[in-house]
Symmetry: C2
Subunit: 263 residues, 2 copies
């Protein structure tokens, strides 16, 4: 039974994709078998792992809307133990198409359920990381419903990123009650911390105050190497392994593994 | 007849809200009568102008879903000539509610149409700036359908921000053909430019190559004052008028006015 986390936050540009891709890459590097599931029509996780979203034969669109099996959608990424269920631009239309389908909120959970039952598939992954789009619509609800082990919330160290947290927490509560009783808050990850400004420090303090004990100790600094890596289709571990961004994601991954009892 | 622009980009965190609020504030300072319309459920433009989204009596939710008139929804912001049609968290539910309403894509255009007809209202605004959420869903489609003068696309100087532009341009094309024949690309604004990195320069060159003649000359630098200002509920013009961010938004606003023949 893999551990399944969703990376979600309706605030845009806070580091959901960067966290999914880079934690995924470190987990794989250290022996865990990882599947990244990209359900954002922008397909940023897909391109960050070097895959051309326009050339993808089957994507999470087919998984969600057409019920195609996961084994047909998933692809190798060229990194050992790191597979991807890619997104494609077709996913932008999925929002409207899903609304009229039965069990529309649980389509992803059903697609991933094969990982628990099928002996062959089931042995396959230790972790599944679901990268959600910046909204609380049907795609993110699918991500939250499928996340059997919880949601990881990246929080940018900016004032506007604070504003939406209570809305997000309410949405998570709704999904827990109506669709996924196991959904919990696995933790908040502070991202794009800029040590030169007071703002970053104040935001971290504020988030720690509101969510005592739920904020990962590791803070991800702002590091240009992290934003360059996707243009080479590589995670930070291979693009700039000694950069501040790489060291931070390595530390965060260790913290996650320790908390999951897998370290 | 006011000039109506939508600020749109499905990529999250690229500066849509920051551009709508700060261009709006400079336009108002220089004598234009401005209405900012916030149709993002996060209500960041609302809080950036010092208004508590939870205390708002009527919002763009009521405008879009219940057909309440604009004059009842709009509020003063405390800055002369700068009014706001605020968002509220209820807007998150509008996505589902709008789908079943007649003319669901044109609800905002109809609500703003009063600005052209009603003699009293019509004299009221010179500019309307619509701040869209980070998606290409029904709320953004409403914004693009209402934008009689075009769409302004903020583009963060990051690789991942490039990836989604072609998808956005296709969506704009669809809206132009099906819903708003006057929709044009007013221009792309490069934001969060970091002069210390090659990445920023490369992204600007790439965008200028793909969109010759459509990129505003003014480039908005990354400036921490811009991200601090919302926490005080103030635009940059009053929070830090001599900061690099303020000077850039002043220059951008002048460029916009000149292009609109209003300078
Ligand atoms: N710690 C960091 N330092 C510097 N740049 C970063 C960092 N984390 C992410 N970035 C860059 O910031 C931008 C936003 O990050 P990312 O795309 O991961 O956020 P997101 O929440 O997935 O965005 P969206 O809401 O659009 O899905 C990207 O260009 C990314 O490369
Ligand atoms: N030029 C800039 N320099 C520094 N920070 C900036 C700049 N422009 C915007 N910011 C900050 O970056 C974050 C993202 O900007 P903003 O919220 O305006 O983007 P957005 O596109 O409206 O986001 P969303 O997609 O969530 O609606 C905010 O915290 C904002 O304060
Ligand atoms: Mg993303
Ligand atoms: Mg915004």
């Amino acid at each position: 039974m893999p551990i399944i986390y969703a990376l979600a936050n309706q605030k845009g540009g806070v580091g959901k994709t960067t966290t999914a891709v880079n934690v995924g890459a470190y987990l794989a590097e250290w022996g865990q078998r990882v599947l990244v599931v990209d359900i954002d029509p922008q397909a940023n996780a897909t391109s960050s792992l070097g895959i051309d979203k326009r050339a993808v034969p089957l994507s999470t669109y087919d998984l969600l809307v057409r019920g195609v099996s996961l084994s047909r959608v998933m692809q190798l990424t060229g990194r050992v133990r790191l597979d991807l269920a890619p997104a494609s631009p077709a996913l932008a239309g999925a929002t409207v198409e899903l609304v009229s389908l039965p069990q529309r909120e649980s389509r992803l959970r059903q697609a991933l359920a094969v990982l628990n039952t099928d002996e062959e598939q089931g042995k396959r992954y230790d972790y599944v990381l679901i990268d959600c789009p910046p909204s609380l619509g049907i795609l993110t609800v699918n991500g939250l419903t499928a996340a059997t082990d919880g949601v990881i919330i990246p929080v940018q160290c900016e004032y506007l990123a604070l504003e939406g947290l209570s809305q997000l927490v309410r949405a998570i509560e709704l999904v827990r009650r109506a669709l996924n009783p196991k959904l919990r808050l696995r933790g908040l990850v502070m991202t794009m911390y800029d040590a030169r400004t007071n703002l970053s420090r104040q935001v971290v303090e504020e988030v720690r105050r509101h969510f005592p004990g739920r904020v990962f100790n590791t803070i991800i600094p702002r590091s240009v190497r992290l934003s360059e890596a996707p243009s080479y289709g590589e995670p930070i571990i291979s693009y700039a392994p000694h950069s501040a961004g790489a060291l931070a994601y390595a530390a965060l991954t260790r913290e996650l593994l320790a908390g999951d009892g897998r370290y």
